[in-house]
């Protein structure tokens, strides 16, 4: 049963990664990252349920909190960039390269 949860988590992680890699929009990429964090939490709670104890919950809780913080900062950056560049398409943000 544990492996089933782990596989689901891995699938969500991979789907998130796919989104991260293919989305053109910065917010879209962020959503992909959200999914990946979500996979982490599934993993943690599955491990906790199948014998890991309370530490897994704690870690999951921290992950959620940290994710929220990340998202907040990330969206702030998105807003700033939108303000300056009038776009949030990651494809168009290539002033710096090489």
């Amino acid at each position: 049963m544990l492996k089933a949860y782990l596989l689901v988590a891995a699938a969500v992680f991979a789907i998130g990664l796919f989104g991260v890699l293919t989305r053109r929009n910065a917010v879209g990429i962020l959503l992909g990252i959200e999914l990946m964090f979500n996979a982490v939490n599934i993993n943690l709670l599955a491990f906790a349920r199948f014998g890991g104890g309370v530490a897994g919950w704690i870690l999951a809780l921290f992950t959620i909190a940290i994710t929220v913080a990340e998202i907040a900062v990330g969206l702030a950056i998105v807003i700033v960039i939108f303000r300056v560049r009038r776009t949030v398409e990651a494809d168009h943000l290539t002033l710096l390269r090489g």
Binding site: M1, L2, K3, A4, Y5, L7, V8, A10, A11, V12, F13, A14, I15, G16, F18, G19, L21, T22, R24, N25, V27, G28, L31, G32, E34, L35, N38, N41, I42, L45, A46, A48, R49, F50, G51, G52, G53, V54, G56, W57, A60, L61, A65, T67, V68, A69, E70, I71, A72, V73, L75, A76, V78, I79, V80, F82, R83, R86, V88, D91
Partner: protein, 164 residues
């Protein structure tokens, strides 16, 4: 097949479907809604895993908080450009290959992993133990987390404010 198993299959199916929609939907707004669904189904999984408190946190913090901020951000940017943000995927093939590769490598290891030894971690967890642990063993990370949240807030506010 036990009821829990049936529940797991159903919830997992919805979760995966919703996740997929998150990354391929062409409408950013829809993506966010699919994400909310995925998060909520995840909370369902948490319930299956007997983590009620975390399921609640998931719904409140994530599905509530995160989605709200994202929507807010989208609205903000859309308002500024005055058009709906269409979003496309690029390099789907390579993305698919890499993502599948990552999944395959993780899944392979998961499947190869030995079964947990018997009696491994028998202690059941409860919200009460969680609270106690948080304020005893993990008090330092907890305090640090507060600094982290304040800092993130400070940074986000600095970036987002417009007056200077």
């Amino acid at each position: 097949m036990s009821g829990e198993a049936v529940g797991f299959v159903v919830i997992a199916a919805v979760l995966l479907a919703a996740s997929l929609q998150v990354v391929i939907s062409t409408n950013l707004f829809h993506s966010v809604l699919w994400l909310a669904l995925a998060l909520v189904t995840t909370a369902g999984l948490f319930l299956l895993l007997h983590a009620e408190f975390l399921a609640a946190a998931q719904v409140l913090l994530y599905a509530g908080g995160v989605v709200t901020i994202v929507v807010f951000a989208i609205m903000l940017t859309e308002r500024l450009t005055g058009q709906t943000i269409r979003q496309m995927n690029r390099g789907i093939a390579w993305g698919g290959v890499v993502a599948t590769g990552v999944f395959a490598s993780i899944a392979g290891v998961v499947l190869r992993a030995p079964a947990r030894p018997a009696g491994w971690g028998a202690e059941p967890a409860s919200t009460a133990t969680l609270g106690r642990a948080l304020l005893s063993d993990w008090v330092l990370p907890f305090e640090v987390l507060s600094v982290l949240l304040v800092t993130a807030l400070l940074g986000a506010v600095y970036l987002a404010r417009t007056e200077d």
